[in-house]
């Protein structure tokens, strides 16, 4: 769970009592919140040793796994909700993982940095890759190997015949429903197969 994505804004999308799989769950804060505030249960998936420890410390179930190796460990439709919060942009096989997300879960909720947010566009206009609070890395050291936009993702979803249940932008913790591709640093999509 990234500090850039408002925890409650995502949690609100997860029905109470859901079985949740959180891909790239970080320190387990979102799952912890969903368990204690929304009666959810489930697992996080993480690669980083420190995050594994943080999750165990919180009492959040966590599975240490490299998402680039796929989700073969999880059965079809075994979760109500599969979350990918600030995870997609780090994945080599982002499209496969999108399909896997809706194979394993009845609903997928994804959030990722929107490259088409207006400050990023301005930066590109000046001839430089954006370095912002939301995208704090230089082009040569960024872990964000998939840079896409709100509009790009909507297209990828439809290309994979996924139903968009809801989608909006997030900026400073606020939902942005007008011109999200321009006005929001984060894109949020709720999808079903």
């Amino acid at each position: 769970m990234s500090e850039h994505v408002n925890l409650k804004a995502i949690a609100r999308l997860v029905p109470e009592g859901s079985r949740v799989l959180d891909l790239g769950c970080g320190d387990g804060a979102l799952l912890d919140y969903l368990q204690t505030q929304r009666k959810c249960s489930g697992y996080g998936v993480e690669l980083d040793d420190r995050n594994i420890h943080a999750c165990v410390k919180r009492g959040v179930n966590v599975i240490q796994l490299n998402l680039d190796e796929g989700l073969t460990m999880f059965a079809d439709q075994s979760f109500d909700v599969v979350l990918q919060i600030d995870t997609l942009q780090h994945l080599r096989n982002a499209e496969v993982m999108l399909r896997e997300t809706v194979r394993v879960g009845r609903t997928g909720i994804l959030a990722f940095p929107n490259f088409a947010h207006w400050p990023n566009r301005l930066s590109i206009l000046t001839g430089r890759m954006p370095v912002t609070k939301r995208l704090p890395y230089q082009w040569y050291d960024t872990p964000n190997i998939r840079v896409g936009t709100y509009a790009d993702f909507a297209q990828l979803a439809s290309q994979n015949q996924l139903k968009i249940i809801d989608c909006f932008g997030l900026q400073e913790g606020q939902e942005i429903r007008a011109w999200p591709n321009l006005m929001a640093g984060t894109a949020v999509f709720k999808l079903q197969r």
């Binding site: 165990v56 179930n61 599975i63 240490q64 075994s78």
Partner: protein, 393 residues
């Protein structure tokens, strides 16, 4: 039973104890063990409602001496002393920890070197074949005798992890947590093959006498040495062996450029010297029949066997919470084997956490101090302890 109070600055003092069981134990094979002793040790204090007991299960060559040292014997640390003790990841100031020696072993519990209670004859090769399930049943009898109904946790590495898993299946209402480290749902063919080489080394030693070597006053030490050598190789990783020994010679000769002795039988390389030393040490304290029995128990363990190999169906019995840990360079009990268990638990919607530690030390890593591994286990037990305190303020 007098328990020693422990302080941070004082070493934990361990006391070996023994419990006698008069009622026969029915074994998986259909045989029965007429009567038996179980050697065990306990550390820490059992709380008033007896909810803080943790059972530690041992692997091939270990015993009930899990933690602490024996009075006046500084170097007698238990085999998991880095993990268990006051202030350690499994904290004996919070938990009542029990170590138990398994049946057929050679460290105090009834085994092949003991006499059959009716005939007075030393069992030797006639000691009944015992399985992981039999050990777990015997451990349950020990808990009954100690007045403990439910374990806060059962924990083990390697073969010990198989026992922890078996506990979760055989006594689901008696276990709240199972901690399964560097283990597997069964052995692969390659793994059974290693065991068989070790067994053949022992059985073909002329001093073995069909397992009745005690009455000949000899010990099949040659076989035990080789068994230990092959076992030891499989517990390490190629990288660690290279780092530790490489191609280093034991004592290079100066009369030629290579430093080699050009001998087929001398100890030439350091790795040879190390393996021989390990083999020698082992052959002096370990029992040959025990080695056969324990490797067989490893081979036989396969909770999914009667369910057509369906581990998910087998683990449906387990209701406790699980922590699994594996180590990236462990090729004897590889991470993929632990993942099979994790997957079966996920299929059953059980609470499970899984840490795959990227450590260079092979299977041995489960006995070593890797900070990430220790931290995960420590936090897991801390949560357990807080939950126990919360339930009973």
């Amino acid at each position: 039973m007098q328990r020693i109070r422990t302080f941070e600055f004082m070493p934990l003092i361990a006391q070996s104890q023994s419990m006698y069981f008069e009622a026969p134990l029915a074994l998986q094979s259909g045989a029965t063990l007429r009567a038996y002793h179980l050697a065990y040790e306990t550390y820490g204090t059992l709380n008033a409602d007896k909810s803080n007991a943790v059972l530690i299960c041992h692997a091939l060559n270990a015993s009930h001496h899990v933690a602490g040292v024996y009075e006046g014997q500084e170097k007698s640390e238990g085999w998991w002393d880095n993990m268990i003790g006051p202030g350690k990841p499994v904290d004996t100031q919070r938990f009542f920890v029990i170590g138990v020696n398994n049946l057929g072993s050679c460290f105090g519990s009834t085994g092949p070197m003991h006499a059959h209670p009716d005939t007075g004859e030393i069992y030797g090769a006639d000691f009944p074949v015992v399985t992981v399930e039999d050990w777990v049943d015997a451990q349950a009898k020990l808990l009954d005798a100690l007045g403990i109904q439910t374990l806060a946790a059962v924990m083990g590495g390697s073969l010990g992890g198989m026992q922890a898993l078996s506990w979760a299946l055989r006594y689901p209402d008696r276990v709240a947590h199972a901690v399964v480290v560097a283990s597997a749902p069964n052995l692969t063919a390659e793994n059974i093959a290693f065991n068989e080489v070790a067994r053949r080394a022992i059985v073909t030693d002329p001093d073995f006498h069909g397992g009745h070597f005690y009455k000949h006053g000899v010990v099949p030490q040659r076989g035990l040495r080789i068994a230990r050598m092959i076992g030891h190789i499989t517990y390490l990783s190629d990288d660690v062996m290279n780092e530790k020994f490489g191609r280093e010679l034991r004592a290079a000769v100066t009369s030629n450029a290579t430093g080699y002795r050009y001998s087929t039988q001398d100890v030439e390389f350091q790795i040879e010297s190390y393996l021989r030393h390990q083999g020698d040490k082992f052959s002096e304290y370990f029992d040959a029949n025990t080695y056969l029995l324990i490797t067989r128990a490893l081979d036989y363990f396969d909770p999914a066997r009667t369910l057509g190999g369906n581990l998910t169906a087998a683990l449906a019995q387990a209701t406790c919470k699980f922590l699994l840990v594996s180590f990236s360079t462990d090729w004897r009990f590889s991470p993929s084997r632990s993942r099979e268990i994790v997957r079966a638990l996920l299929d059953n919607k059980r609470d499970v956490s899984y840490a795959e530690i990227d450590a260079p030390h092979g299977h041995d890593a489960f006995l070593l101090n890797d900070e990430r591994y220790m931290n995960v286990v420590r936090s897991y037990f801390e949560n357990m302890s807080q939950a126990l305190a919360g339930d009973h303020p």
